[in-house]
């Protein structure tokens, strides 16, 4: 059986690291041979989603049990829902902790509780509370910019005339679509803002071709996030992907509107 254990160093003599997601190393130990594989915890380096990355490692290594000092609720849920038992409050030397587990020193109570929790996870009150908090936080994150955008739309509708917009959007299908795609590529943020802006542009006489291209490129092309994408996925991939998304947005927008016009007449 394979056990994953958070460790301060990459050997069995190391102490158990307190936090599962942020431990410097994760050791995967075969309890029969006591052979082990050490991996520098990816989550300890790249902080966003630290716990999740440790979870992914544990799952991909096929471990059945995780021993650690503390495991965050999100990582705990994910481990348990993937059939991995999590034993917390483990301290001392890694080797001793493994031996203690093999000897049943952590007891069976935890395992039984976790099996119950796994069975009831869809109606678990804690899971629901976490999901509610998470959803509220996501909505709260959307709101400040959305309020700003809505207030801007008010200004836009009041101060920008249709004639002024017509100087940019000249009812040339390809030209308008290209402008829309360019605006969407530069602007960034939650896509809900692109819908609100798109609807306002539509009400002011801008073509649906341009609005559709704006909505598509708002998410698919990210000039603002480009440095981060380059850093993670490489210059070639990032530039190629963004350029192709920008080009592809134009036929997709034109096709969308043409099919819509065909269906609704």
């Amino acid at each position: 059986m394979k056990i994953a254990i958070s460790a301060e160093r990459a050997d069995l003599e190391s102490n158990v690291a307190h936090r599962f997601g942020l431990s410097p190393y994760l050791l995967v130990v075969d309890t029969e041979t006591m052979g082990f594989k050490a991996l520098a915890n990816p989550g300890a380096i790249s902080r966003p989603g630290a716990g999740v990355q440790a979870v992914i490692f544990a799952i991909s290594e096929g471990v059945e049990v995780v021993l650690t000092g503390y495991c965050g609720p999100a990582a705990y849920d994910q481990l348990v829902s993937n059939g991995i038992k999590v034993i917390t409050n483990v301290s001392g030397m890694v080797k001793d902790a493994i031996e203690k587990y093999k000897a049943g020193g952590f007891g069976q109570v935890l395992a039984v509780e976790q099996e119950k929790e796994q069975a009831n996870r869809y109606i678990n009150r804690n899971t629901l509370a976490r999901a509610l908090r998470s959803s509220a936080r996501q909505i709260a994150n959307i709101l400040p910019i959305l309020i700003g955008v809505v207030l801007c739309i008010g200004l836009f509708n009041t101060f920008v005339s249709k004639e002024a917009l017509a100087t940019i959007f000249s009812e040339n299908v390809v030209g308008d679509t290209l402008w829309g795609a360019c605006f969407g590529s530069i602007l960034a943020g939650n896509p809900i803002n692109s819908y609100v802006i798109g609807a306002a542009l539509l009400n002011n006489g801008v073509s649906l071709f341009a609005v559709t291209a704006l909505i598509i490129t708002w998410v698919t092309v990210g000039l603002v996030q480009l440095p981060a994408e380059i850093a993670s996925l490489g210059l070639r991939f990032a530039l190629l992907r963004n350029a192709l998304c920008l080009v592809l947005a134009i036929p997709v927008a034109i096709l969308t509107v043409m099919i819509l016009n065909f269906i609704i007449g």
Binding site: S46, I145, T158, F159, P191, L240
Partner: protein, 180 residues
């Protein structure tokens, strides 16, 4: 379905929260100035904003419900599983699904995508995943309220199809450049 939080990421979130407030604050200051120099038009602008706000309230409530369902039943680990299924037809379709159900800012996903790439995931599933983030199930109520369900259905289908074309082209050109 948020990613796991660490002290560092919480710090990052609070930092980005500050930046998020800058834009609405600038808009509010603009309104303040306008109320001083042209109060009547500023009031018209505020009323116009109020109308937009009323239109968006109900769809936003639906957004919360769909978001809650996603947070309850979809976990980032499941998304990574879907993404790790290779570049065959099944793998591509699973990448489409992963992109559609993934939420949160894209920069949170970059470290995971990098990790997957290092574990052998190809360019195509990653590009397909990133493109399909344009399909947001939890925002569909807002989109339908503004543009109608027929438009949303067409755009969604074409976005998914375009994601596969995009993934294929990215993989093809990236490979060709590597070969050169």
């Amino acid at each position: 379905m948020n990613m796991g939080k660490s002290h560092e990421s919480k710090r990052g979130v609070s930092q980005s929260s500050k930046y998020m407030l800058i834009f609405p604050l600038i808009v509010l200051v603009t309104y303040g100035v306008l109320f001083l120099i042209m109060p009547e038009q500023a009031l018209v602008a505020l009323k116009n904003s109020g109308k937009v706000c009323l239109n968006i309230l109900l769809p936003l409530a639906l957004v919360f419900v769909v978001m809650l369902a996603l947070n309850l039943f979809v976990k980032p680990v499941q998304i990574v599983h879907l993404l790790s299924s290779g570049a065959n037809i099944k793998g591509i379709l699973l990448s489409v699904a992963a992109g559609i159900i993934s939420v949160g800012p894209i920069y949170v996903w970059y470290p995971l995508l990098k990790e997957l790439r290092e574990k052998g995931a190809g360019n195509m599933p990653i590009a397909v995943f990133l493109y399909n983030r344009a399909v947001k199930p939890f925002l569909l109520p807002v989109m339908v309220a503004y543009f109608g369900w027929v438009y949303v259905a067409i755009l969604t289908v074409l976005t998914v199809l375009a994601s596969i074309v995009n993934g294929y082209l990215v993989a093809m050109f990236a490979k060709r450049k590597t070969a050169e």
